[in-house]
Symmetry: C2
Subunit: 366 residues, 2 copies
Amino acid sequence: MIEITRPTLVVDKKKCLQNIEKMANKAADFKLRFRPHFKTHQSAKIGEWYREYGVNAITVSSVQMAEYFAGHGWDDITIAFSLNIREIKNINRLAEKIKLQLLVENTEAAEVLAEKIKYPVEVWIKIDTGYNRTGIISSNSYYIESVVNKITQSSKLTFKGFLTHTGHTYYASSTDEIFSRHFDALLKLRSLKQQYRFKFPDVEISMGDTPAASIATSFDGVDEIRPGNFVFYDLMQHSLGVCRLTDIAVKVVCPVVAKHLLRNEVIIHGGAVHFSKDEIINIDGKAMYGRIIIHKGEEKVMLDQMNYLSKLSQEHGTLKVAHNQFHNFEIGDLVEIVPVHSCLTANLMGHMRATDGELIEMMPKY
Amino acid sequence: MIEITRPTLVVDKKKCLQNIEKMANKAADFKLRFRPHFKTHQSAKIGEWYREYGVNAITVSSVQMAEYFAGHGWDDITIAFSLNIREIKNINRLAEKIKLQLLVENTEAAEVLAEKIKYPVEVWIKIDTGYNRTGIISSNSYYIESVVNKITQSSKLTFKGFLTHTGHTYYASSTDEIFSRHFDALLKLRSLKQQYRFKFPDVEISMGDTPAASIATSFDGVDEIRPGNFVFYDLMQHSLGVCRLTDIAVKVVCPVVAKHLLRNEVIIHGGAVHFSKDEIINIDGKAMYGRIIIHKGEEKVMLDQMNYLSKLSQEHGTLKVAHNQFHNFEIGDLVEIVPVHSCLTANLMGHMRATDGELIEMMPKY
């Protein structure tokens, strides 16, 4: 291992491979196309890890990310973000080279796309199944039909089907609620599939979220899943009951720089520019930004929930440490922090290290 | 101007220069050394903008950032982060080349530093004046004395004085509270200066925060100020009453991708990976992540506070838009978002554009 001197995101390849294998097997069992979302890791090297599990089609969250992965040998990419018509030039450049799938959710964008696209692309209609972020409400048949009509006006565009991101599973307060939201979304999409099957026999439905993809036990009628976070998992997924703590494949290793015994706090180098400000609520009702793993001799021990990353400023992190654990922290020690939201943490860090110290590069910021 | 197709951080150089000039003049008026914090912009090019106002000494928040700016011609740098003893190798490399100032707040770090430093450096003792993040509580004379003793054991180390970051001014609920916290900190540091003046005639005190540096009207006894955020300012500083909206020098330009009339929401490409999740509370009691500027013909108009960036996921932003403004948003439009916390936004974006389109590079992430 390299010598760690400053906050470093370390990824456990073995755990990632286990997570990928498990999800790939699940997709195979349910006869689903597995099109993992690569926004979680944004890394060409980690992308290669999926290959041995038969993955050859991926999902990304921006045109820029599609360009990055297309440049690293991926030739079947869905940009799972509603079409930004300002990027049509770059989209045409991509569509010339690879099999590209786009999302459309309004007639304005569909019209511009139909008019300006120069190469064949497949188009999903983005459906809002209850997350209420964006997409067409599934019951809005009239508007869905208008968008389908715009798409089919162009010989370059193939209407692929209906896609949703059931992002409200991230805010579920129990696994039952994840199931409820998943099945509700599933029924909505399946109903659309039924309506359009006569006119478009190949119409498909695609679902996306890691919580449901991890624990749901039926995907009847679904053609494709696009989870992303599962490759790393994180405390948020653990708190949802979707993964075990031992499945989490990323940690931020941080040096201890100060101790404040009177208020039971330990200061680490590791702040908002490393973790992001995404939080979960801890058992004490306070915001938590990470759990703590310490070294005891050769052993690594995860401390209980009364010890946690409790505050973040730009570069500083504050660990709330129970009185009986305080002696385990010394100035200059390294602690490992399990992050709340691995996607945002990886995005902030800009690169990672494998457990053997190997550098894992990520998509550059421009 | 270049064609903007995706979320782009645009910096108004003219406003930055005005902000720098104003702060430089204020420092001169009060006979303070002006050592601006460069963590806000992390950019060699923007760093050059300070030169014409006589700035030749700077503050940074990490050893890595010191290395970056030392590589761009800055030879007098304070690393305003309590010494991380694991970085001693890089610190020695820096100290060989430039005039370096470090912060120490415990005997453990002071001891390692005294033992391992190979070149002359100046050392500040980091004092906690009420922010309660880190540093030695100012009244803890016994411990302060122990740290000073450790420092003076090495002929390479010069004890410089007492430094604080009055970060609790960021959480003030009125400008009076900013004054109160500033003067309280000032009195604490001045008392320490008095105590040590006999033994160390050149002992100095250094203060840091943008809110007090912007509005305080006395710095009696202070030798140096280290504000950073003021170069850009942001909504948080505006909400504190520290700057005008027109002083804010950065905006994130974002394309509109969807409209949801039924819930008065507009979706932009621009999310947590562009803005950070730092929020302020809006007049409606809800979290706000940015204010909105739209184009009306040639004119730019900032909408009132009932129109704002109200939700963020990884790449999506949701604008809450008043019913009577809804018609001003069209798919494909660009809107400008004034960010809540410019430091974290710049850090996330990784690069900026000047208003004339010129690329402004920032410190690489590794």
